[in-house]
Symmetry: C2
Subunit: 388 residues, 2 copies
């Protein structure tokens, strides 16, 4: 969404500043009455309606929660939020937008009200062939090495890596993905103007330049414990599978794994030395949660394969290709079939500058249209783009 926001998007932007992230009551209210109506009621200081529950009428929203929302409402200025975001190159994406990742709808009442984005990648396209990679903040050298190695291998297979931007495994996964040349998506638990953790400032700048930063919190929102926990559901929901690379028994990564299980996503764990407490969480996933044991990028791709293949454009339907914007179509037309060509050659042929071409190439790779080759990029033999 760029330019003028719809009433719905406006209201969702405000509600993301008013209600705690992932509050199922707010989610149900928005689903039933629409964000605009709920936001109007809160601004007017009116009583909110009750929501229909599966088994009948749910009790009305608890007065204390309504009170908190109403108290916050007057301080929210949608235009200010949106223009501040736009100033730093951000955008708002809400359900119904072309960029909204449909997988998030699996969260039901806990679906984010809206997502604040920064970065060059189309979020929906980047998540088509994606995998969540999570693990401990206080990772071992082994864990960091394996995370970077797996992420790079996945990137080389045109899988994008989704993670939480934290120290440790998350950071290694993002860096590995960037090194492998695929877009990476970081879901942050605070506003996108806040670099948290501080030491990842440069990494976040890299991700904004070559991937996408995502938050369900508006600018200015600081990180909270609640924010970290509910953030994990988005990491799990954006992807068809979650890999836990290294995690102790009390790691937050197990919370993400639980979300993956609840969503019937593929759950994978990387084993490690049984003498390392930092792998004990992964071993529990293998033993008790029926996680698949994965040891390299090929294993992960195999676990996700059927899912990714279904979602890949060019398989039986040209729908996704038709959905590409005009610049991406031009870049795709400029990518040779077998021998491939370098980015500069493709940019020239498509009539775009290098940066713009790189961004489009990343999107096309994430969408499964093209793949890396010794010369640079070529179309995928199975993408339905050959012989155009």
């Amino acid at each position: 969404m760029s330019g003028v926001a719809t009433d719905d998007a406006h209201a969702r932007a405000c509600l993301s500043a008013v209600a705690d992230a992932g509050d199922p009551l707010m989610g149900a209210l928005i689903d039933e009455y629409g964000a605009a109506e709920i936001w109007a009621s809160l601004r007017a200081g009116a009583e909110l309606p009750a929501v229909e529950a599966a088994g009948g009428q749910r009790p009305a929203t608890p007065p204390a929660r309504q009170e908190r929302w109403r108290a916050r409402a007057p301080g929210i200025d949608a235009d200010a939020l949106l223009s501040a975001s736009a100033e730093m190159g951000g955008r708002l994406v809400v359900p119904g937008d072309p960029e909204w990742p449909g997988r998030l709808d699996r969260l039901g009442d806990r679906r984010p009200y809206a997502l604040w984005l920064r970065g060059v990648q189309d979020l929906r396209n980047a998540c088509l062939r994606s995998v969540a990679m999570v693990g401990s903040r206080a990772a071992s050298g082994y864990g960091l090495h394996v995370a970077a190695d797996l992420a790079c291998g996945l990137a080389e297979r045109s899988w994008s890596v989704v993670s939480g931007g934290a120290y440790g495994i998350d950071g290694a996964a993002h860096r590995g993905a960037l090194a492998g040349g695929a877009p990476t998506v970081a879901i942050l638990a605070c506003g996108l103007d806040i670099d948290y953790p501080r030491g990842h400032e440069a990494l976040f700048a890299d991700i904004a330049a070559r991937g996408t930063l995502v938050s369900e919190h508006p600018l200015g929102a600081g990180p909270t414990r609640h924010g970290f926990l509910v953030r994990n559901r988005i990491i799990a929901a954006l992807t068809p599978g979650t890999v836990v690379v290294e995690a102790g028994l009390r790691s937050g990564a197990l919370n993400t794994a639980r979300h993956a299980l609840d969503l019937c996503s593929a759950l994978m764990a990387v084993p490690g030395p049984v003498t390392s407490a930092l792998s004990a969480g992964c071993h529990r996933l293998l033993r008790e949660w029926q996680a698949a044991c994965v040891t390299d990028a090929a294993d992960i791709a195999e676990q996700l394969g059927p899912i990714g293949e279904e979602l890949r454009p060019g398989r039986g339907t040209a729908l996704a290709r038709d959905g590409l914007d005009e610049e991406s179509q031009r870049v795709l037309d400029a990518v040779p079939d077998r021998t491939g060509a370098g980015t500069a050659t493709i940019a020239l042929a498509a009539g775009l500058d290098l940066d713009a071409a790189m961004g489009r190439l990343g999107l096309l790779a994430a969408g499964g249209f093209i793949e890396r080759c010794p010369a640079g990029w070529r179309t995928r033999p199975d993408s339905g783009t050959e012989g155009r």
Copy 2:
């Protein structure tokens, strides 16, 4: 079996020297006609009968194989084999003997014709609560450490460890079990007068003194590639579960794992670093063979628990207790209930010397009657031995 051998045992001793180990044709002939009759035919140079197959008549034993057996028969002297074995403290155990482990009958036609034993432990009792622990010869420091640690922990829980006596994981497993104070059983692929591998001479002496050495080959038989492979079926069949501690993709331990699967035994694997080729076999077992992921002795005991408990004496039936020899009964009577007592005290009370008492205590522990405690040994609360 001590003293005079029956005709059947005599014949089985000879057949173990005549036919390749684990030849299903010889197994079927013995099952159908009895070892004595087959041995008599071979000695007389007569044609062997055909055996009944599941679907009807099987073709007669191939002439070449009969020829080989007949050519070897005249050189076999049962009395010499048995007395040489007895001289080094060995014994022969055949199906039907009280010491024959019933689990071996699961091998069907591939059941050993007979077992040559050396050591202080009753083989059947030692295998009641037992686990097979196998892995690579060229193990890493990690693998050796973990094998010894797991075996010791299992021994402390009164599980005996069965392995193949090889360098690497096997050796570490035997040593860990001895350190933990439980009997350990080594299945060798050669005659028990041959210390193979050479560097395990001292270990084999230790096992003979505190556990049991087992072979299906008579004295003098050297190790062969075939012998190693068929040996693995005995390791898997003697136990209710097999743990692969560390194994590359081409390790013989995967052959043992295959036997465990075929026998519907519990199959377990210990994970390791994904960066180690020596753990790749374990990870394949976890990923493709549905092996349970185990990281410590408690995990292994949990996987085996229900099986071990069923087989433990004192659970609902006193049958196994009645089956104890008189010396073991006396030692069991001398073991206090809660506080426990040291080995010397128990030996004194039972009127046995220390060595004999130690042997009986090991047997009683393997049978689940007693357990280690700070003072030495006490009865297990659930063994039905309390309040005698």
